[in-house]
């Protein structure tokens, strides 16, 4: 049975995180997800991730897509709104015209 071979066993319950192909995955097996979170925490390196906290009310009623438009001139990024007033932005491209140091 082809599903019993090694390759499908390695790839089971692993979902692509983004269409641009950064090679990161969501794990649908809870243990794998916990291990990934643990590893990420241990590495403690997020050189392209920015955490922004806004004054009360600034983004409260904005969806992630609307918030991302406020920053689109800086480059390409994933945005995650984690509370009513804060977001994580992970850049995968910083526009050197806007941020010359990069």
């Amino acid at each position: 049975m082809v599903l019993e071979s090694q390759y499908p066993k390695q790839q089971i319950n692993k979902m692509m995180m983004d269409a641009s192909g950064t090679g990161r995955f969501y794990h649908l097996e809870p243990e794998q997800h916990i291990a990934l979170v643990q590893k990420t925490i241990e590495e403690q390196e997020f050189p392209t991730t920015v955490y922004l906290r806004f004054r009360e009310g600034v983004i409260t009623n904005l969806e992630a897509l609307e918030i991302s438009k406020l920053f689109e001139s800086y480059g390409d990024f994933f945005l995650h709104k984690d509370t009513q007033n804060s977001v994580f932005m992970e850049f995968f491209f910083l526009d050197p015209k806007v941020i010359p140091s990069k």
């Binding site: 082809v2 599903l3 071979s5 090694q6 390759y7 499908p8 390695q10 790839q11 089971i12 319950n13 692993k14 979902m15 692509m16 995180m17 269409a19 641009s20 192909g21 090679g23 995955f25 969501y26 794990h27 649908l28 097996e29 809870p30 997800h33 916990i34």
Partner: protein, 185 residues
């Protein structure tokens, strides 16, 4: 009710569930037909895994196989059915009985993003990639067997052999494409 009954049947069957770049599809399916999405991702993964223990993403299969420059469904499908490395590995055909002739003949590209055709392409791609990797591994094991034929320990080490073969397979395919970061998806 309606489609929820189909989802229920899928859950009870415990058959593999396969999609292409399908994380949002699973979230949508869960929210529409199973229950409200949980507060955290961990809770979601637990609840999903209880219901669907065998889930595959053909985009992940294609990406990690290192056999495709572009892992969009249409491109992977085209390669699987046209490339010599893939196309002769499997044979399949549509069941055209009962007047199901829509996907017959030319101009199949116009069916891209049509749900049933995307499902068909996903199934074809799934089987082709797994078959390709299975054969790749078998070739490597066979090559190693020939090289190390005089050592007399071919039996009883299948687990290790397979694991080594997979590593070699990854190494050789990465070499083939020189820089895997150039892969487009």
């Amino acid at each position: 009710m309606g489609f929820s009954l189909v989802v229920q049947a899928m859950i009870e069957s415990k058959k593999p569930i396969i999609g292409h770049n399908c994380m949002y599809d699973w979230l949508y399916l869960f929210n529409q037909f199973i229950g409200p999405l949980p507060e955290t991702y961990l809770q979601f993964s637990q609840q999903w895994h209880e219901r669907f223990p065998y889930t595959y993403d053909t985009k992940v299969l294609a990406y990690n196989s290192k056999a495709f420059y572009n892992t969009s469904l249409g491109q992977v499908y085209e390669k699987c059915v046209n490339d010599d490395k893939f196309k002769s590995n499997l044979r399949w055909r549509f069941d055209l009985s009962n007047q199901f002739t829509n996907y017959e003949g030319q101009a199949l590209l116009s069916h891209y993003h049509e749900a049933a055709y995307d499902a068909h392409m996903t199934g074809v791609v799934f089987m082709h990639i797994l078959k390709h990797k299975e054969m790749e591994t078998a070739r490597i094991v066979s090559r190693k067997g020939k090289k190390g034929g005089g050592q007399g320990h071919r039996h009883g080490h299948s687990q290790n052999s397979n694991s080594e073969a997979a590593q070699s397979s990854q190494a050789s395919t990465q070499e083939e494409f020189k820089n895997p970061k150039d892969l487009k998806h």
